[in-house]
Structure formats: structure tokens, C-alpha cells
């Protein structure tokens, strides 16, 4: 074939492709409009049925009929969106009723699909409509290699109380990337009794590299049974563990907590000191006021900031300390007092968060 013939063939193929692309774009738009015109009324009808069912004016069967009229992805979307608006008992009835429904069976069977987006769809479905019988499926999705799938699956913990699921999620928590771990932690907080029991065991392994993450998670729970162990960990050799433990201890106004925080307030690592001062501010025991005042002269800016903010929690005595510091001789304390006293209540709340 000569060069010219080759170019003719290429030009012809290109011409056909260009035409095909234009047709594809137009057809795609047309199909979408047509599909929307067909499906939108069904979505509206389902929303109406859901609303009436939530108010108790129609039976569950009507909702199921409307759900089955929608394409599966849209039905799952609708379930996700309505799950937050319907009272728990009523929603549990719907989840139970969906067990025998044909399209819900299809969604469940996709838990083992080779395509991740199908498994994601199933995980999202389970997150709002799982029943105890689905535990094995959810467990499988929790161990899914695709992050989107196991992140969606962990949301099931919000609705389904299962020791097996909670254990699986908690064991995975320290190995996850920080952001994903924090998301898991948010979900695990819903299953407190099982989580607290497991955490008590896990926090005893003081050489566990995952300890900072576990302590960080334990801090969010503020559960009394965890206090003793967390107070002990405030003196751990690893500064990262100390930071998290000292932060956690601030949630327990107890003499042991205050003693641990007094020690941490003079720690060699400034992040530990900053955290200890913050926690002392949370407890706001008047006996610790001199310690917090002293921290206002700390060489580290962040410790001084924490001290300034902590003093605002000691009511009038704390404010008096700030006013004294504002005209005092220490330039660091003076600047910080000026900064904190200049903040609005809203700003103070945001800083303290």
C-alpha cells in the first residue's frame, strides 16, 4: 500500500469515527432525557409513598412495589436517602421485608461480584438495610480489597449490632490509613459495649505499634471503664501514646486524671505539654490554675495558646490571670493573653474544638 492510499484509509476511518462520535453524543443525550422522563415520575411516586408510609398512612407493600419499579442503583440511592428520615423501628420493618424481595436478593447476591461497583452497591444497600442474617455477607465486604467497598460496608455498624462485625472492624482499624481509620472509628462508636470490651484487652498490649491509634479512638468514647488504663498510658514511653492518652484523660474529671495531667504538663515533649494543658482546661479544677498560668510562659507557642484557651474555661479566676498577663513582663504570655482576650466567643469555641 502506498502512503497516499494509507492516508486515504486513515481519513475515511477518521471520518466514520467523527460521525460516530457526534451520533454517540446526540444519542447519549437523547437516551438520558428519555430515561429521565421515564424514571423521574417513578422516583417521585416512590418518594410520595415513602413519605406516606413514614407517616403511617400507607402500608409497607406500597413502598416495596414502588421500589421494585426503579432501576436497582436508583432504588439503593432512594433507600440511602430515606434511611435517615424514617424512624428506626419502621425502617427495621422495611429492611426485614426487603429480605424476601426479588431485587433485594439480586443486590445481596452481588456481594461476591467480580465488579467492584456492584459490590459497592451491595455495601451501600447493607449500610441501610442489612438484617442479622446478612452478617456473613457484610463481613466479606468489610474485608474487600477495594477501599470504597469496605468503607461503605463499615457504615453497616450504624444499624446492625453484631459482635463479629465490630470485632472485624476494630481489628482492622489500626492498620488503616489515618483518614480511613478515623472514619472507621466514627462508625465503631455506635457499638460501644462490644468495642469497650475489646479495647480494654487491646490497650493492655503496651508494645503494640498500633497503640496511639487505639488510644486516640478510645479517647473519643469517653467510657468510664477505659479511664484507668488510659491514665496509666499517660506515662507511656512513646510520646505519641502519651499525647493521645493525655488528650483522652481530659474527658475524665477524676483525681487520678489530674495527677497524671500535672505530670504531663511538665513533659519534655511540647505536644504532650500542650495536650495536658488543654485537658486541664477541660477539667477546670481550680487547684490546677497555677500550673496553667505557668504554661502561659512556656517557650512553645502552641503550649501558650493552649494555656490561654484553657484559662478561659476557669471563669473569672482564669480571665484575671489573662488580664494580669496582658500587662505583665513576659512578652510571650503578654502576646498570647492579648490574642485570646481579643477573640469572640465564637472564635474561642472554634479554637477550643
Amino acid at each position: 500500500m502506498r502512503g497516499r492510499d494509507f492516508l486515504v484509509v486513515v481519513a475515511l476511518v477518521q471520518g466514520v469515527l467523527l460521525g460516530a462520535l457526534v451520533v454517540l453524543i446526540i444519542l447519549n443525550r437523547w437516551f438520558r432525557l428519555r430515561r429521565r422522563a421515564r424514571v423521574h415520575p417513578r422516583v417521585v411516586a416512590l418518594n410520595g409513598a415513602m413519605q406516606r408510609w413514614a407517616l403511617g398512612t400507607v402500608d409497607l407493600g406500597t413502598v416495596l412495589v414502588h421500589l421494585s419499579r426503579l432501576p436497582i442503583p436508583l432504588a439503593v440511592d432512594a433507600l440511602v436517602s430515606w434511611s435517615a428520615r424514617v424512624p428506626g423501628d419502621r425502617w427495621r420493618n422495611l429492611a426485614t421485608a426487603l429480605r424476601g424481595h426479588w431485587w433485594a436478593r439480586i443486590v445481596r447476591s452481588n456481594a461476591g461480584s467480580a465488579r467492584w461497583w456492584k459490590r459497592l452497591e451491595t455495601a451501600r444497600f447493607f449500610a441501610v438495610a442489612a438484617t442479622p442474617e446478612d452478617t456473613s455477607h457484610v463481613l466479606k465486604l468489610l474485608r474487600d480489597p477495594h477501599p470504597a467497598v469496605h468503607i461503605a460496608a463499615v457504615a453497616t455498624l450504624e444499624r446492625l449490632e453484631s459482635a463479629a462485625l465490630t470485632t472485624a472492624a476494630l481489628e482492622r482499624l489500626p492498620r488503616l490509613a489515618p483518614t480511613v481509620g478515623a472514619y472507621y472509628a466514627g462508625m465503631l462508636r455506635r457499638s460501644r459495649p462490644v468495642v469497650v470490651q475489646l479495647l480494654q484487652k487491646m490497650l493492655r498490649k503496651s508494645d503494640d505499634p498500633a497503640l496511639p491509634r487505639l488510644v486516640e479512638f478510645a479517647a473519643r468514647l469517653k467510657e468510664p471503664p477505659l479511664r484507668e488504663r488510659l491514665t496509666t498510658l499517660a506515662a507511656h514511653a512513646d510520646p505519641e501514646v502519651r499525647i493521645q492518652a493525655v488528650r483522652a484523660v481530659g474527658g475524665y474529671p477524676h483525681p487520678d486524671s489530674i495527677a497524671a495531667l500535672r505530670r504531663a504538663a511538665v513533659d519534655a515533649a511540647w505536644p504532650v505539654r500542650a495536650q495536658a494543658i488543654r485537658s486541664l482546661g477541660m477539667i477546670a479544677d481550680p487547684a490546677t490554675l497555677p500550673l496553667v498560668r505557668e504554661a502561659l510562659r512556656d517557650p512553645e507557642w502552641w503550649v501558650r495558646l493552649r494555656a490561654g484557651l484553657a484559662l478561659t474555661r476557669f471563669a473569672a479566676p482564669g480571665r484575671n490571670v489573662l488580664l494580669e498577663a496582658e500587662v505583665g513582663g513576659d512578652p510571650g504570655a503578654r502576646d498570647m493573653a492579648r490574642l485570646v482576650l481579643g477573640l469572640t466567643p465564637q472564635a474561642l469555641a472554634e479554637y477550643a474544638a
Binding site: R4, L7, L18, E121, A177, T179, Y183, G186, Q346
Partner: protein, 476 residues
């Protein structure tokens, strides 16, 4: 003579085939990528994420130079983004107008001592301000040093581990930060992420938000919509699969701060600081064997105003190309260097031969073909067919970008807008493309003479009711 022209024509033909085969590869790779990204974008439950404290805190770095007219609206829009934990560091880069005064009045600023360490050297800081009403806002006032210097100053002042460089005149969609951090939520080892930049000209803008996306009626901004779609939707998505995104837009890109500090921040000598910083990040991370990803995520969107006059556009394209030439020269040791893996073996060679040298080759092609026709060394039909195929291929790529847009995000809902997109995708190759080649060609000369000249750009405000025209330095 005839033989020499024939050989040169053949070489250009081979170049053309190789380059377009690579574009075809990017085109093919963009399909599974946009499929995955669209699925993830559709399925994310952002409300749930916003209520959780899982998202990493972010600092928005906002360099501002002579932005007096729009700074209050821009900063207010940034402060009201949907994200749980972020701060905004605005850097007044020695503005000659009253940008700082506008900020001071609008946000009740008060001066605070500068208490953070200067990790990266910058021009002197004149003052650090915080707001009594918006605790998320920090304002730095510094001596003029350019965009890169301002970004470095903002990095120094930032508190959070992730930073986003944002132009003060860029409109970020409310949920863009949430979407941009999706990679972190998916547990990936992200070093930097780029979002999509779209053209705001012609769109309806209210309170710093694009409320109605339109394709501009005017040809120049309209054709740039197609260019941006092509660059982002299939170019960068294709590069995601090849692991070598070399550009994260300076108008909207997220970086891990520790890596930016490790490479010394932005280079103030660079003309296009966004490409420069990304190449240096690749180099640093690969040299130190740090596992990382630098993906492009298509659904977080920032809107920017593009030039609507040929004069300004010419200057912009010349500057971009000058920056590209300077960057490929600066990092020439990465070219075909296996130490830099796919970046050194695929991405850098593509940017050298497929982007930096492409206008030169194209013009040489035109000249040789015309010369060949003149001396009778090139067959007229062959030459016409070649030009037809080359232009046809360009149209194919542009239309493919429109297909991707239509199959995924469909920001332009009206049929009239779709029609305009198709029209611009078709017309782009007749005149406009040749102009861009010429503008880029000029960079081969100016790269030696105008190393740090940015030129002036005339921008019109976004808001329909604000008619003021702000003359300002083009910043990214």
C-alpha cells in the same frame, strides 16, 4: 534536495504517527479511569463524611496581588466551603491597591505576632493578621515577591498537613474540597491531587459561586472550554493510568505539606510554578523511594476566567510554553532516566517531544511541505490528505473529550451548549490551532530573553453586575 525533503517529510510523518498513537493510548486509558471516577463520585455519601471527623484538615493558600475589587467576595466564598476542618491563609503580595485594607475591614483583622518558623525563605513579612469574626482566616502582608513566593509564605504560616494552592480569582465549588480528599479517604498514599479547572466565562456567577454553567458564545473563550475539557478529562485521566501526571493546576491543586517543605516549596525563578513543583515532587519522591500517587480527580471543580482577547491569550500561551521549555531544560536529567521510572521513561519524554517540541516540528512540517510542493518533491494530494488527517485527528480528540464530559459530569445541560461545544471542537483546528502553534513558537525565542516576564492580563469580574475591569498580573 528532493531526497532531503522526502526524508524530512518521512521523519515528520513518523513523529506524527508516534505522537498520535500516544494520544490514542491516553484516550483509551481515560475510559476505565473516568468510569471508576464517576462511580466513586456518584456513590460517595458526602453528608455522612462531613459529619465525621475523618477528613484531614486542609490549609488553603491564597496569593493575592491587586485584588481589591474582588478579594472580599473571593475570601468569603472560600470560607464558606463545605468542609469540616480547614483554614484560609491569604497572602497580600505587596499589592499596590488597598487589598489589605479591604480584608482588614471586611473580616475585622487584628495583628498577631508571627510565631511560626520560616521553613522556606521568602520576601519579608510585614504583618500577620487574624480575624475576630472568622477564626479560619489568616492574612499575611508581605513585600512583593510573586506568586511562588506568596505560596511559600502561606506554606510557612499554614497549620495543617494538606495545603491547596488556590488563585484568589478562582471560584471553587462548595463540595470541591470534600471530593478532592477522596483519595485520602480511600487510603491511598497521596502526595498531591489535582482537580478540574473549567472555564467560567459565560457562566452565571452569584456570591462567588457558579450557579449556571454555560459554554461562552464568543469563539475564543468557547474554544478554550474544549481545550480545557481535552486537557483535563482525557489527558490527565489517561496519565492517571500511566502514573505520571506532570501538571497539577496552579489554580487548584492539593499537596501534602511535608513534601512541599522537603523540596523547598515553590521555585520563585520558575515561570510556571505548578509544573515545576510537580516535577520536583516526582523527583524527590522517586529518589527517596517514597511510595506515592499523584492522581487527577475530575469531579472537584474550580472555575477560572480565561482570556477572551487574542492578544492576552497569545501572551498566556507564550508564557505557558516558555515555562514548559524552561522546565524540561531544568529537569533534562530525568529524560529517559530509568531511575525515575515511568515519569522519566514516559512522562518527561512525552512532555519534551510531544509538548515542548511539537510546535517546532509542526511548523517545520508546514514549511517543508510547502517547500516540497514548490519544488515538486511532495505530491499535492498526499500533502492535502496529510493535513486533512492531522486536523481530523485533532477534531477526534476534541470530540472524545466532549464524549467523556457527556458520559460523566454533564455540566452543560442545555442543548445549545452541547451544540456550541461540538461546533468549537470542529472549528478549533481551522485557524485557532495554528495560532496557538505560532504563539508557542515565540516561546523558543522569549525563553532566552524574557525569563521571568509574566505580562499583564485584563480580567473582567465574574459577577454579572460588577462591571469593573481589573488589570492585574496573570497568576497561573
Amino acid at each position: 534536495m528532493r531526497e532531503a525533503i522526502g526524508t524530512a517529510d518521512l521523519a515528520i510523518l513518523v513523529f506524527f504517527l508516534a505522537l498520535n498513537s500516544f494520544y490514542a493510548l491516553l484516550l483509551v486509558l481515560s475510559v476505565p479511569e473516568i468510569w471508576e471516577q464517576t462511580r466513586l463520585a456518584d456513590d460517595d455519601d458526602f453528608q455522612r463524611l462531613m459529619q465525621s471527623d475523618a477528613l484531614p484538615p486542609i490549609t488553603l493558600l491564597v496569593p493575592a496581588y491587586n485584588e481589591s475589587a474582588t478579594i472580599e467576595a473571593s475570601v468569603t466564598a472560600l470560607l464558606t466551603l463545605e468542609y469540616c476542618n480547614f483554614e484560609v491563609v491569604v497572602v497580600n503580595d505587596g499589592s499596590k491597591d488597598d487589598t489589605l485594607e479591604q480584608l482588614r475591614q471586611a473580616f475585622s483583622l487584628y495583628e498577631v505576632p508571627r510565631t511560626y518558623p520560616a521553613g522556606i525563605a521568602t520576601r519579608p513579612i510585614r504583618g500577620v493578621y487574624r480575624s475576630r469574626t472568622r477564626t479560619r482566616l489568616v492574612v499575611l502582608d508581605k513585600e512583593n515577591g510573586g506568586k511562588a513566593d506568596s505560596l511559600n509564605a502561606a506554606i510557612n504560616a499554614s497549620r495543617f498537613p494538606l495545603v491547596i494552592a488556590v488563585d484568589a480569582d478562582t471560584l471553587i465549588e462548595p463540595d470541591a474540597l470534600l471530593r478532592l480528599t477522596r483519595g485520602f479517604l480511600l487510603g491511598r498514599q497521596i502526595a498531591a491531587v489535582g482537580g478540574t479547572v473549567r472555564v467560567a466565562n459565560g457562566c452565571t456567577v452569584q456570591h462567588g459561586r457558579v450557579t449556571d454553567a454555560r459554554v461562552p458564545r464568543r469563539f475564543l473563550p468557547g474554544v478554550q472550554v474544549v481545550e480545557y475539557l481535552r486537557a483535563f478529562l482525557f489527558g490527565r485521566l489517561g496519565w492517571n493510568r500511566l502514573g505520571g501526571n506532570l501538571i497539577i493546576s496552579g489554580a487548584f491543586g492539593l499537596f501534602r505539606k511535608e513534601y512541599l517543605l522537603a523540596i523547598g516549596g515553590y521555585r520563585t525563578e520558575s515561570v510556571v510554578e505548578d509544573m515545576d513543583v510537580v516535577v520536583r515532587l516526582h523527583r524527590y519522591l522517586l529518589r527517596n523511594r517514597i511510595p506515592y500517587e499523584m492522581p487527577f480527580i475530575p469531579d472537584p471543580v474550580a472555575w477560572t476566567e480565561v482570556p477572551d482577547s487574542g492578544r492576552v491569550l497569545a501572551r498566556q500561551r507564550e508564557r505557558w510554553h516558555r515555562g514548559l521549555l524552561a522546565a524540561v531544560w531544568q529537569y533534562k536529567t530525568m529524560l529517559f532516566n530509568p531511575r525515575y521510572r515511568r515519569v522519566g521513561l514516559i512522562a518527561v519524554p512525552f512532555y519534551v517531544f510531544g509538548e515542548a517540541l511539537a510546535p517546532l516540528v509542526e511548523v517545520i512540517g508546514y514549511v517543508i511541505t510547502l517547500g516540497g510542493l514548490f519544488v515538486g518533491a511532495v505530491d499535492v494530494t498526499f500533502a492535502l490528505l496529510f493535513v486533512l488527517v492531522a486536523w481530523g485527528y485533532g477534531m477526534l480528540l476534541s470530540l472524545w473529550a466532549v464524549v467523556l464530559e457527556e458520559a460523566s459530569f454533564r455540566r452543560y445541560g442545555r442543548l445549545a451548549d452541547l451544540g456550541r461545544l461540538l461546533l468549537y471542537a470542529t472549528l478549533e483546528n481551522f485557524g485557532y490551532r495554528q495560532c496557538t502553534v505560532w504563539w508557542r513558537l515565540k516561546a523558543f525565542v522569549t525563553v532566552f530573553t524574557h525569563r521571568h516576564v509574566w505580562g499583564e492580563m485584563t480580567r473582567k469580574g465574574f459577577e454579572a453586575d460588577s462591571e469593573q475591569v481589573a488589570a492585574k498580573g496573570l497568576r497561573g
